[in-house]
Assembly symmetry: C2
Homo-oligomer: 397 residues x 2
């Protein structure tokens, strides 16, 4: 028998992050690679109390099939929170519960992308989104990220042919940790308004701002045209795979059909537990705890990098979220140094998978949320050994 | 702004079953429509104990991100059970945990189907699968179902052009309740062996045989070429959306990549709870309880139909599962009678959505698992009123 796969997967590669997972089990390995929340932040007791309450009070319904859209009280909660945080008016009917943002990428692609359609993405962009879009065989246009958001000249150019979709992470972007300024958001909305391009505004980290003040979502000035994504992964639990899509009625109708064909509905038992947990607990207080923890870890990483890294290495200073982005001197490949780093028992994510083209780039992503300050200091020292030596070699060539 | 959807959804319709849901809330409505397990069969206390145990003993891991493939002890359990039931050898690495069979349809389509590729399906076929395949814009070939399985002459013809996929439900098929004989399974395997066609053997109801003896899965005689699907929806809880795919290594590699791009991994918290539940409870005893319940409900439906239905109405007599299939006299449209049935406070699923072509057909699906024997008797009486009158009218024309 001959295996005949679809064209879309014939060339699909396993994600590099998956490959990294394989070395993570090694003894004494320190990892700056994953996007894992700190497990000590998980509200285990709160989830347990919620699970017991749901099963005791309404177990038969909680274990039964449910609606594709998701549990209404959960959608109402999400809508209320948008209004409380940003005075953003979202109707619960405009919210679809999905299995984390990753499923949002898949469903939106399914609803919008024909083969060859253009998707505008950030440079660098979140690799999980690129992976998901990739299954729908699009063409990419990239817009470089700056310290204050998208490069507007490049964006204007990328929008010239009225692309189908544009994907951005305006808060504490993955992988760079950068945040779009208010001015940049408004300028993006102004440019998009002249097109039929649907903006996917992904916001998994927005609740995790530990410095500065929150910015309005782009959706608040480009409502009809924006699909906003949110997630409980970074504030409650990622293993529960619970996120949501906010979209206007006509788009939502198609997304619901796509969701139904994809897996009927998201885990209803877990939707009920999360809802109960949110009702019975002060989520803002919980988020404050997470933010205090992450700020401390971020400070340690910045301090250690300043202390140990060669001064030719630069990095972003995120005001929230889970990642920062390191740039090595031109010509030093983070991918090529990955193996030496593994030998030193430290891993990160080389920049390559965050770009739609190019390889052996001089950038890398570092996560600070899933290591103790002590591990962070030790990990940065190990990295410095690898990087500084490579830089010395390059300079002496 | 102009909305520009992908071609695949421009014509996608909401499922008729979703439309049925809307009338289900009406007072005194009896429903034979859904595929809902009887909620009184849900092991609420067992799930609660498992949830507490998982959170108490390993909460931080249970709430964290996990591997795309799924929790290894759960996959080991599934593999062991196949061996215990059928001496079918499955390696845990050949199992992928997914969000119910519905996600299996999507992932398999993603991995195999290019636009226009042929999928062979039963006539009639499970509408959820048709909906899922439909997003990948295939061409269908249909093979009629008989009392003993697929029509082999039609199957031979359908396989002539070496189609990419073939989808079957050999045990207590949805919608007909029919089961393939052993001879039919072997004949199907013999025909498929000459092709490169991948067989999707869907088995959500196989554990629910309340009469007769189990047959071997087709996979046991066509191992390499068969993708076998299973689910906890009908034996533990459908709201948890937990199913699995069994496939050989080369296919599994692609499925894992597709799963990762689709939603990273299935709800890990729930995987852990189900595993714990299975470890601490006698699932066979639990399944016996469900089967005893469903047999009683099935007997009531057959008895009532015999008593009240016009003798020109025929129906299948399933040996397990959740559905039976009713055939009205030629020319009587189950779809057209649906509204009269709603007026009588009884709903079913008209046959139309189970076919790839045709409308106003004289067939319908009835579910007996989610109504009490008393409701079943009352519901069949209401239906008889609608059907018998329509038959009388047709005869007098």
């Amino acid at each position: 028998m001959q295996l005949r796969f679809a064209r879309r997967v014939a060339n699909a590669k396993k994600s590099f992050i998956r490959e990294i997972f394989k070395v993570l089990g090694q003894k004494d390995m320190i990892s700056f690679s994953g996007g894992f929340p700190n497990p000590s932040s998980f509200p285990i007791e709160g989830i347990k109390a919620a699970a017991i309450k749901v099963l005791d009070s309404d177990g038969a319904n909680a274990l039964q099939y449910s609606s594709t859209e998701g549990y209404l009280p959960l959608r109402e909660y999400i809508a209320k929170r948008y209004f409380a945080r940003f005075e953003l008016k979202v109707d619960p009917s405009e919210i679809l519960i999905v299995n984390g943002s990753q499923q949002a990428f898949d469903l939106i692609s399914k609803v919008f992308l024909d083969i060859g359609d253009t998707v505008v993405v950030e440079k660098p962009a979140y690799l999980g989104a690129l992976q998901s879009f990739g299954f729908y065989e699009p063409t990419y246009k990239v817009v470089p990220l700056t310290e204050t958001g998208l490069d507007l000249v490049a964006l204007k150019d990328a929008l010239k042919d009225n692309p189908k979709l544009m994907y951005v992470v305006p808060n504490f972007q993955n992988p760079t940790g950068l945040t779009y300024s208010n001015e940049n958001r408004i300028a993006i909305a102004d440019l998009l308004r002249k097109t039929d391009t649907i903006l996917i505004e992904d916001d998994p980290y927005g609740e995790l701002r530990f410095k500065g003040i929150d910015h309005q979502p782009i959706k608040s000035v480009l409502d009809e045209q924006t699909i906003l994504l949110g997630s409980f992964s970074k504030i409650v639990s990622p293993g529960m795979r619970m996120g949501w899509i906010v979209a206007k009625k006509e788009i939502m109708e198609k997304l619901v059909i796509a969701k139904q064909a994809s897996d009927l509905h998201s885990n209803y038992f877990t939707q009920r537990i999360i809802t109960q947990y949110l009702m019975d607990n002060d989520i803002d207080k919980h988020i404050e705890t997470i933010k205090a923890m992450y700020l401390k870890q971020r400070e340690q990483m910045l301090t250690s990098m300043k202390q140990y890294f060669d001064p030719s290495i630069t990095y972003t200073q995120p005001e929230g979220g889970m990642f920062l982005w390191v740039t090595l001197p031109e010509g030093v490949s983070a991918m090529k140094l990955f193996e030496s780093a593994v030998v030193q028992k430290i891993v990160y994510v080389p920049g390559d998978p965050f770009y739609t083209v190019g390889e052996d780039l001089n950038t890398l992503r570092m996560n600070y949320t899933n290591s103790t300050p002590k591990e962070i200091d030790e990990g940065v020292q190990r990295l410095a050994k690898v990087f500084n030596e490579a830089i010395k070699k390059t300079n002496s060539r």
